[in-house]
């Protein structure tokens, strides 16, 4: 038996050994540990690469989250060269080859945001730390998007936002590692302006009911600026608590306010309830100031329109994309998605599918998964063939600029999905703005190892 086993072990020896083990295991700078071998956070080493899909799987936006997840799964399938390829065939300029990303097979993990910022951050953190996700994408709320974008910036991974419409996401809260394909509240206002003027004239009095959180505030501000520029007067703006449920006490004051337009800066369940109740209160049958009373919902989604039922018919709003578009890219996406799931995709599904392709393409263009390379590829990237016409990822704020759809609740739907008719495709030039107006600073790209 060797001496070492004969020698009595002193407390000092144990303490020294323990300290050395602790230092070796975790307390040493990561440059001396295994993590230091990676050039950037979650650099893939094997034959596959993991994407993190962070969507609401429970809670109020679970249906939207489910549709986003369907789109992500379809995108992964197409990136790996399975299925009909869908918009991979129409997207240009494309470096995608249908053999994964940079030759690595695409895998994915999912997280449940629950549409709560803390839960969304926790699931994103788990996917980055435990599942080694290279990119986090998804979400159905601006509060969640801003929270997760901040986390991804700190962690050194890319964030490709899902459905988030607040000006703040690519405004005062923008981050270098974050990118948004979806349009925003400013663009909704700018797109709706000319249509509102054409349909309702220049002399109107608007009453706003606004969801009391970041998205609602920016939506109200954008609509107010747009309508006042048309010559409309703002009678009153009233903030309503998120999830108020019964809006009757907020709607009845509208009846005698002298306003002839009600603008509902609500989304999701709030939009369904406030619109349904406004219609029940007879607002759409009213005549005020010698004009028909009108209701406007600046942000529409087909899934939400389904919830509002009959009430949505004839209501004007805006949307990022609609499945009824006839361009080859939209047709290819609808065909592929419909064949897979038996229903057309929602605008949330569309933006998530596009974001996955755009991320994969940026990696291919850069020849690396490094956030530095991806950011460089995406900044100022001009592309077409993803259903929105010519589009650009503006370098100054990482906001996509493209045409915006003004839609109206379909009066005579031909199917349960045929709920919105496109009134106008507002050209990109009309919804563009100076990146400085919303403040914020992208800061430097974080491409450090995690």
């Amino acid at each position: 038996m060797s001496d070492i086993f004969k020698k009595p072990v002193s407390r000092r020896t144990v303490a020294k050994g323990g300290l050395a083990s602790i230092l070796a295991a975790g307390a040493m700078p990561t440059i001396f540990t295994g993590a230091s071998h990676a050039a950037y956070c979650n650099e893939p080493t094997g034959g596959d690469v993991t994407l993190g899909f962070n969507v609401p799987q429970t809670g109020a936006y679970a249906d939207e989250g489910a549709d986003e997840l369907r789109a992500y799964k379809l995108a992964v399938k197409h990136l790996n060269g399975e299925g009909d390829g869908d918009m991979l065939n129409t997207f240009k300029p494309s470096a995608l080859k249908g053999n994964g990303i940079l030759g690595k097979k695409v895998k994915y993990v999912t997280g449940d945001t629950q549409t709560k910022s803390d839960a969304a951050r926790a699931s994103a953190k788990r996917m980055i730390e435990k599942d080694k996700a290279l990119v986090i994408t998804g979400g159905s709320s601006s509060g969640v998007a801003i929270a997760v974008q901040g986390l991804c910036q700190e962690a050194g991974v890319i964030f490709m936002a899902g459905l988030t419409h607040s000006n703040d996401t690519t405004g005062k809260d923008k981050r270098r590692n974050g990118f948004r394909h979806f349009f925003n509240a400013y663009m909704s206002g700018a797109a709706l302006g000319p249509v509102l003027e054409k349909e309702y004239g220049k002399e109107r009095k608007a009453y706003h009911l606004t969801a009391d959180y970041t998205w609602g505030w920016t939506q109200e501000e954008s609509m107010k600026n747009t309508t006042e520029a048309l010559g409309w007067k703002t009678t009153k703006t009233v903030k309503t608590p998120v999830g108020a449920g019964d809006f009757s006490q907020y709607i009845t004051p509208v009846l005698n306010s002298g306003a002839d337009v009600l603008i509902l800066n609500h989304y999701g369940k709030d939009m369904i309830n406030s619109l349904t109740q406004a219609v029940q209160f007879g607002l759409r049958d009213k005549q005020v100031n010698g004009k028909n009373f009108e209701i406007i919902v600046p942000l529409f989604s087909r899934l939400m329109a389904q919830g509002a039922g009959e009430a949505i018919k004839g209501i004007l709003g805006s949307t990022n994309w609609n499945w009824s578009l006839k361009d080859p890219a939209s047709a290819a996406f609808v065909k592929s998605f419909g064949a897979e799931y038996g229903a057309p995709p929602s605008m949330a599904a569309h933006t998530c599918y596009c974001q996955t392709l755009l991320y994969a393409n940026a990696c291919e263009m850069a020849g690396t998964f490094s956030p530095e390379g991806v950011v460089k590829s995406l900044e100022g990237f001009k592309f077409d063939g993803l259903g929105n016409g010519a589009t650009e990822y503006r370098a100054e704020d990482h906001q996509c600029f493209k045409d915006v759809l003004v839609v109206r609740g379909n009066q005579n739907p031909t199917s349960q999905y045929d709920l919105l008719e496109v009134v106008e495709v507002t050209p990109r030039s009309q919804v563009e703005y100076d990146a400085k107006i919303f403040g914020g600073d992208l800061g430097p790209v974080n491409a450090k190892p995690c």
Binding site: T58, Q249, L255, K269
Partner: protein, 341 residues
């Protein structure tokens, strides 16, 4: 004046829903001594009874039209409700009146759910602390919510009122106010319905032998049992009635508020405040407090009030509850000795 009148109407219809839920809660608490946090889920289940009924009578015969295609290339489906094919115009009437007709299904289903809930779970917690009761019933509520969410999704499912009461009533002209004072017909129907249900429950407890025994049991359960009356069986029936009251309240509320899986939680907290303000175990107190707090909340939402006290609409109910409980610790009509041990 117009605005005040409209807010009174708002308060009455909101108060009607609160009063109906609080009435069921109080029935369960007053008879069984159970603090039932799953009561909001019973309201939600009632609403989904109406949704399910609507789905069933709208079941459609699907015929594929090979000459027309969907956007994804499959033949277009032409759908016709079976009930219209079988019953013609009467089928259309049934579809139009699906919400009120669904009560015929909601009542027995909710009765059954109430009895199963009481016999299967609640009775095991009669002699346990209120904290245990709250935890288990709250857990049950979450389970029920998630089951409904799994089968019906998380999006609200709109239900329409019958066409005859779909628009707004010109209530202003009825009482000499301006023609601009209108109020949705269905909300007026709901208020009337609440009043009828509340009256029926009171009449049942006040004027029937069964009600007399239940009232006696609420006063002194042991004494009633010693007289040889099977009070437990009657209490099971009372729990069933409480579930039916919550269920029909939920079913009839669907045209006002498109039902969604967590609708019960929206009402539950406020209804507990209503019960406490009305006085634990007091049926009259629950109904009075339901309407009172509903009207107060509506007034607090008026722009004129909010411009003086911003955010008052969000706290008024709790503020008034605190004041009432400070002045009247047992609530408006609370009995001595209830929850005071």
């Amino acid at each position: 004046m117009d605005a005040i009148f409209l807010q009174v109407l708002n308060g009455l219809d909101k108060g009607g829903a609160h009063a109906l839920i609080a009435l069921g809660l109080t029935l369960a608490f007053g008879t069984l001594g159970i603090v039932n946090f799953a009561h909001g889920a019973l309201f939600m289940l009632g609403a989904f009874c109406a949704v399910s009924f609507n789905k069933i009578i709208n079941l459609q015969q699907i015929v594929l039209d090979p000459t027309r295609k969907t956007a994804w290339g499959t033949p277009l489906e032409i759908k016709t409700p079976y009930i219209t094919s079988w019953l013609g115009d009467f089928g259309n009437v049934l579809i139009d009146y699906s919400v009120p007709v669904s009560l015929l299904v909601t009542i027995p289903v909710m009765w059954l759910i109430g009895v199963i809930m009481e016999r299967g779970l609640i009775k095991r917690f009669y002699n346990r602390p209120h904290a245990d009761q709250i935890l288990v019933t709250f857990g049950l509520a979450i389970v029920l919510q998630e089951i409904v969410s799994h089968y019906y999704g998380a999006n609200p499912i709109p239900q329409t009122a019958p066409a005859i009461v779909a628009g707004s009533a010109n209530v202003g002209s009825w009482i000499g106010l301006g023609e601009s004072v209108v109020y949705p017909w269905w909300r007026l129907v709901y208020f009337g319905f609440s009043a009828i249900v509340i009256f029926a429950v009171f009449a049942f407890l006040q004027f029937t032998t069964f009600g007399m025994v239940v009232r006696a049991g609420m006063r002194d359960r042991e004494m009633v049992a010693m007289l040889g009356i099977n009070i437990e069986r009657r209490f099971t029936i009372v729990f069933g009635i409480a579930a039916v009251v919550a269920g029909v309240a939920g079913a009839m509320y669907t045209p006002i508020f498109p039902p969604v899986y967590n609708i019960g939680m929206d009402f539950l907290v406020l209804s507990f405040v209503v019960v406490v303000v009305g006085g634990m175990g007091s049926l009259g107190g629950a109904v009075t407090a339901g309407f009172l707090l509903g009207i107060l909340q509506s007034f607090a939402s008026m722009n004129e009030i909010k411009s003086i006290f911003p955010g008052i609409d969000q706290i008024i109910i709790y503020l008034v509850a605190v004041i009432i409980l400070l002045v009247l610790p047992r609530g408006l009509m609370g009995r001595k000795g209830v929850m005071e041990d």
